[in-house]
Symmetry: C2
Subunit: 688 residues, 2 copies
Amino acid sequence: MVRAAVIAAVLAFAAASGVARAEEGMWTFDNFPAAAVKAKYGVTIDQPWLDRVRGAAVRLSTGCSASVVSGQGLVLTNHHCASDCIQSLSTAKLDLTRAGYSAVARRDEKACPGMQAEILISISDVTARVSNAFVGKTGRDYVRARDAEVAAVEKEACAGKEATQRCQVLTLYQGGQYKLYTYRKYADVRLVFAPEFQMAFFGGDPDNFNFPRYDLDFSFVRLYENGQPATTPAHLGWNPGAPKAGEPVFVAGNPGSTQRQLTTEQLVSLRDFALPNTLLQLSELRGRYVGYAQLGPEQARLVNHELFSIENSFKAFRGQFQTLLDDRFIAAKRTADAALKAKVAADPALARDIGDPWVEIARAQAPRAALYDAFTLVEGRAGYGSNLYAYARTLVRGAQERAKPNGERLPEFTDSRLPLVEKNLLDAEPVTPGIERLDIEFWLTKVREYLTADAPETKALLGRDSPEAIARRLTASKLADPAVRRALWTGGLAAVQASTDPMIRYVLQTDPVARVLRQRYESEVSGPTDRAAEAIARARFAAYGASVYPDATFSLRLSYGAVEGWTFNGKTVEPFTRLGGLFERATGQPPFDLPQRWLDAKGRLDLDTVFDIASSNDIIGGNSGSPLIDAQGRVVGAIFDGNIHSLGGAYGYDPVLNRAVAVSTAAITEALVKVYDNQALVKELTGG
Amino acid sequence: MVRAAVIAAVLAFAAASGVARAEEGMWTFDNFPAAAVKAKYGVTIDQPWLDRVRGAAVRLSTGCSASVVSGQGLVLTNHHCASDCIQSLSTAKLDLTRAGYSAVARRDEKACPGMQAEILISISDVTARVSNAFVGKTGRDYVRARDAEVAAVEKEACAGKEATQRCQVLTLYQGGQYKLYTYRKYADVRLVFAPEFQMAFFGGDPDNFNFPRYDLDFSFVRLYENGQPATTPAHLGWNPGAPKAGEPVFVAGNPGSTQRQLTTEQLVSLRDFALPNTLLQLSELRGRYVGYAQLGPEQARLVNHELFSIENSFKAFRGQFQTLLDDRFIAAKRTADAALKAKVAADPALARDIGDPWVEIARAQAPRAALYDAFTLVEGRAGYGSNLYAYARTLVRGAQERAKPNGERLPEFTDSRLPLVEKNLLDAEPVTPGIERLDIEFWLTKVREYLTADAPETKALLGRDSPEAIARRLTASKLADPAVRRALWTGGLAAVQASTDPMIRYVLQTDPVARVLRQRYESEVSGPTDRAAEAIARARFAAYGASVYPDATFSLRLSYGAVEGWTFNGKTVEPFTRLGGLFERATGQPPFDLPQRWLDAKGRLDLDTVFDIASSNDIIGGNSGSPLIDAQGRVVGAIFDGNIHSLGGAYGYDPVLNRAVAVSTAAITEALVKVYDNQALVKELTGG
């Protein structure tokens, strides 16, 4: 279903100038097409509007978006963006995932481990400085020179302000631009309110990415500083009414990743090995997690968040994969590539400057295919979700890297990144031995399966042991204890090397193989690819000017659109669902069952209240929790999903079918008032 | 790795005449290219040779091949072809899978439930008769007329001989030929000998489809008639010595299915939805089974055979999928299609006769895509392995169909098929409630996921229930008891309709949806496709004569080749492994651990004994258990696998890389003598 639509979008893109059409575009705040919005909707988006929205838009370090909705640092996001926190704060006796959570007073607001909130306060262009650093370099030298310069820029920019700011150099347009984004950061984020998981994810995996939808997928957290609610640069007004069909709406958030500007050869590689192998592995892991959940209710509780994450990723990647399997889509992409190449060829000076980066990228695909499984399994996905493994790798690599000058470290351990690395490492989070064992066993089994038993990497990771025996042995690690982690982190390399913890020993012994793979990958794949992609970006700027937007990079973007349904195969889907529909869809059987509190409240509710909203905003994973904003800059919803057609959005946006899905402030307000009886929150939101 | 090779093969096929080259070919016994063998190897394959081999070649109803190797009905096959039987005969206290089995006397030979052996005794051509029945018909009418005629032919041919014979009309060349195959059947097959699973499948899934290999994947069963060892039309001599490198060898067996003559559009459909959806589902099911196995040693035992089957299928399908993902492979197939079309176009009379079946097949791909998930999940894979569901469907459909005239029934319930249907239904086999529940729950979850919660099929199968609740309810069925099944089978429709068994009720209620899907699929997909494929087959005969072989159809074929390794990426793999290598590869950790009996026997063994053998014979799944035969017609091994390159063999054979893998009679003999101390078997085999 997704495919034809995306093809139409890509063909249109290829045929036209390469300029975004209609509602397409995840625009940076320094290049928002306000004139186009004015022309289409008659709405003026001026600098004060942009500044206020930017100052209220929140990026969560857990991979989500959010918005400040009160003067006391109250933040609206999705339930599924806080569900890791909610699960971490739960116990066998008090399951907040099941029961929901409502802080009665400020002191009941509970710190979310590992969660940091960031608000963008400035953007500056550092393209020239970063580019100068790598000029003339290739392969791994290119990567190292670039990364060193980025580390230096980030460190200098935040010097002396590290406690309250984060500086990050973002690579935009596949290297066509380097921008320094400076964030106000809030490392103390606390849970204020969450509905029951059952309500937040009503319909479960079967309804995920579908619409009509009936999910109350929201939660509130609060930013703290020095133990007090934080004052943020701005906050959004709360509009408890629902927008109308056709009304213009905006989404400010952090779309995670799109691949719209990749060359055809890169997409073919995604189709031929990256996506299928990822999906097949996720699928088996999903089965193993389902098996774990069926061991009993407590195991089901413990695995709930991870299982949701796996199923959500699986469905999203599967939609992407189906798009790439369509030969017409690939053909359309080839046409788009050819159009840009023709423009370059028509300009001799540009052609001399650009060379043939398409061929360079095509050439990198063979080593990419050869290295893909080893690189992903031994480096990228090492440990396959095991927290103990991740802690150990952070401790081992962190100790090794911190001993080096800032510019020579792996990028994830440069000075500008260390505060968040530390927070993630040292915050207390529950660790479940059974799940750890499952993860490690699965990981090592897949290493052996995909690389074969005789591969040197397999031998390095397994020796003469079985995955089962190693997983048993490593799960005896004491790294679940934050004090143990802190001692090793502060003790540095000497402490790590002296450690007898089995997981630390294992990583010390096996990590060199992963580092070698990473270096090879940088030399043969990412170095040549990044360098060529930067040339293609220059070609694109020369051909199409600044009227293009960069692929998503989990950085702040603004998209515009309208409250709008769609028509597919002759069937029209309205842009709204209403509370009454929830009760009609409920069967009493999971995942279509309702909490008793909701069944009891039915008579009190206005069943005509708008529940979930479809809109034509261009969004993707990472936008979860983003505010849906009306023309007046007030929040009217929180994005939590896209429709099934939106899954092809990774490769192209289709204005006819691609829809974002949000939970309305109207439904949230109705629920807070009539179901959860939380007048304090309503008062804070409405300022009433 | 597989891909480049297969492309070379397909390109060669396209460029040349369409005639099989070198060792390519799964030849029927009535069209074996003896002259080519004579020319290449100087070996004479005459009619007596063919007759003797055919008379000793066994098809097992469990999807495998085998051969008679003594005058007392002793049959050599793979361990994995008898492992379902071995597991069925095991209990928590006596695990024959783990311990192996050796019948001390004839009375210890144990009947294998559901296993029937069949030996081909004659082939006759019924193409004209079947074709006349459907001439001028289309869609579902075409399917019904054809199937009715097939049912009539089969019934007439075996009339009065049903107790000892099975008559089957085989569709060859995608409908280009209909041949009546008459088999001598043996419904009483008993287990004689099996080594430990650990030895049979040493290296487990990681080593599956790899070579060098060290698997003792054999077992012996015996055919019985009237309680006595059966006399078969022929048997093969046992050569306890290993063949030499380069020596010509033959494989007589029943390759299950190849897709070498499909059109490009059909292959693209396999690539775009059939294979990925199959693989993704298998992958999750695998994870769930692994989870079940980890519940405890008894659960691991109970699930062992099924988990092997899933992992084996997964690896095979994945290899096929990777082949189809290569655009060069698809392009080569298009070239091959175009070459045949050009030949048709060059012959006006032929062109008038043939029409454009390629377009007809292309047109059937859209409904195929639209129906695929519903058809496979609700009809083809209904129950997803649940024995209780399968019993119930056989009982419900069997009762409904037997009430109709023979020619109007579903093909699987025509008179010629009923004896085997009955045997499978009524033989006692253990049923494990936990696995039944897993299967049904998985099945219904995937129905809901792939078809969506709102699809009419999902509503028909789930109502307002959850998959979990239905699985719980249905597992209370009493159909695990063979007496209950027998009563319902003999009671017919009245008994079935009166049954209160929850599984019978469920199938009675939901089966109409499946039947409707099947009819739609026949009307819109398989009817038009089969009719067009028959026209393409006629085109191929006209263009290339009889020098082509039909795609595999789990019917008896003979392939020739030589004992031969291969060279890939500059690395040469020898065609033999030896017993000594087994001990070198053993780590002591599963699946690379050895039974104590083997560790103890090491000093007694001739470690130079040839263990496993690679040869260039063209084989595929279904050939498992096939005898590897020397020029003198003596068995020298049992095929149990192919190398990794052979997985693309579904779509094309590559003489450079595609290799069959067999366990040698030399290793079997050495093991029987020195490890298992089974002199009686050795004596029977060698006639000594």
